[in-house]
Symmetry: C2
Subunit: 312 residues, 2 copies
């Protein structure tokens, strides 16, 4: 069938197969007389965050934040000066920290993201995000978001999709900016988390962050967390690495029309080109299944005419 | 200030202090020029389920379901005939099972609610709810819901509140009927849960339910789960027992206008009268804090002119 032409809601996307696939899918599921029509309540779309909605190079934004927190708290922990991985973090030795992978980042996060209330943690994140700048571009991190993905989020929502984030990053970190930056409210942010405990502090109820992990929302954890939070299988999923593959398999294997899209980082000039071999963006099995199953793969260099939002 | 009079959206509520408190609160937070105005995005209301939205006597509906599952699975478990608590469950000895409290119900739930996929579990629940009837009234359990609370849910939503369930019951059990019965979609249901695991079954991705508890959403767990799922502090909370008290403390201690309401079971004729001393409805510290802090306490016998929805 053919659909009525509408105003271009994706101006930062060049005409091509990626843009066409998005427009076709949204029309198929939201046009009432389409054979693939999906009830609005079932129009669930899930988005990875790092590398899908904002830049993750040279390292995850939250990893930069963790290192800053180690420095901020060092005075209270003189032992960190001689203990790894804290010593490397204090010396700004990002390479060593990154080389340690997830376990090292988790250890640093446990030592710096716990002990305070959820409210106080959100204030710390908010303060940091309001001034911290990306070392290469000098932009605020919340300006290192992808303009084409913002348009896509709006386009989906204007067609009654509910948009969720499903990130390996910290749920309480992302919630601080997701509503203002992406239009995604806290209750639609899913991420990794530590345990919290309800108690009275100074006579008032508080949720206190404990130094114990609750859930890692990555790889096989993503479909688990999607089910826990949403309770429906998404009909559309957006990611950029193998960490998103189980979420895409889970999304694409449901009945009816489904849409999976991978963002491929191919633009060394305007963003970064890294693809299969980066610490942050391992992307190997994912690209193979995308090609085998006909998922949409965005070539950033060719598909996007704008990467970051224009400044005022 | 005074507010314009509107059509009565709570016809099953008798005029009185409870109804007036509800109407006043909603007007205060949703009237744009009110000093207590709350942005629509922050209008979060949380509801307990058992005893607050539907009946919980003589025992939680899910406990009845658990006993039915024990019987349905007994053929595959001959050892249950001689092992407690399964023996009591098979003999329909509800009193013994209930006397064992939460640990016994959890043991029975673990043995009967795990091993299948999330999809298959939802089908089992759906089938059971479509025919199982309450022993005293002969109604389907999904007809043992409180008409005044349905009106309240609608009233809140018509004023741009987002309504959530926060139940000690199983999240995957409640999600099966919450959308059709209460108008609350799966992503707004919070409850107790067991772990699930992502794997391939018969060549397709599946989420398999494991016999391991994930989270008990009761008492101090309720504010923790509210923060985990919603990420905002509610401005209104509704419950009926001490299990809801931490959720109410958490809700009422936020800044700005807040509303807490307890349903008190005082109607032995139309529902049940149990109050402080019931297995299902322990209600002691909660009623004391409600009275001390001026929370709204619904007297079912006097405040509600209808309890259950009228049948066609």
């Amino acid at each position: 069938m053919t659909y009525p032409s509408i105003k271009d809601q994706l101006p930062s996307w060049n005409d091509g197969t990626s843009k066409q696939a998005i427009v076709d899918f949204i029309a198929r599921v939201s046009t009432p007389d389409s054979p693939d029509f999906v009830e609005p309540a079932e129009r669930i779309a899930v988005f990875d965050n790092d590398g899908t909605l904002w830049s993750e190079q040279p390292v995850y934004v939250q990893a930069v934040f963790v290192l800053e927190r180690v420095k901020a708290l060092a005075e209270k922990h003189p032992e960190w000066e001689t203990t790894q991985p804290f010593k490397a973090a204090l010396e700004g030795d990002l390479d060593s920290v990154v080389a340690g992978g997830e376990p090292v980042l988790l250890e640093l996060a446990m030592a710096t993201h716990a002990g305070m209330t959820t409210h106080d943690f959100s204030l710390i994140v908010r303060n940091w995000l309001s001034t911290a700048k990306h070392p290469a571009t000098g932009r605020l991190y919340t300006e290192m978001i992808y303009q084409p993905m913002l348009e896509l989020l709006d386009y989906l929502r204007s067609n009654q999709f509910k948009t969720f984030i499903t990130s390996g990053g910290g749920i309480e970190f992302i919630r601080v900016f997701a509503e203002a930056v992406y239009g995604i409210p806290p209750e639609q942010v899913i991420g990794s988390s530590i345990r919290t405990q309800y108690e009275y502090r100074d006579g008032n109820p508080a949720l206190v962050r404990l130094a114990e992990f609750n859930f890692i929302d990555d790889r096989e954890g993503k479909p688990v967390a999607i089910n826990q939070h949403i309770g429906r299988r998404p009909i559309a999923a957006f990611g950029n690495s193998d960490g998103d593959l189980p979420m895409m398999q889970w999304t694409s294997s449901g009945e009816g029309a489904r849409f999976c899209l991978y963002v491929r980082h191919t633009d060394a000039e305007r963003e970064w080109a890294y693809d299969r071999d980066s610490f942050v963006g391992k992307f190997d099995k994912g690209i193979e299944q995308a090609q085998a199953d006909g998922w949409t793969v965005v070539d950033m260099q060719n598909d996007w005419n704008t990467v970051f939002p224009l400044r005022d």
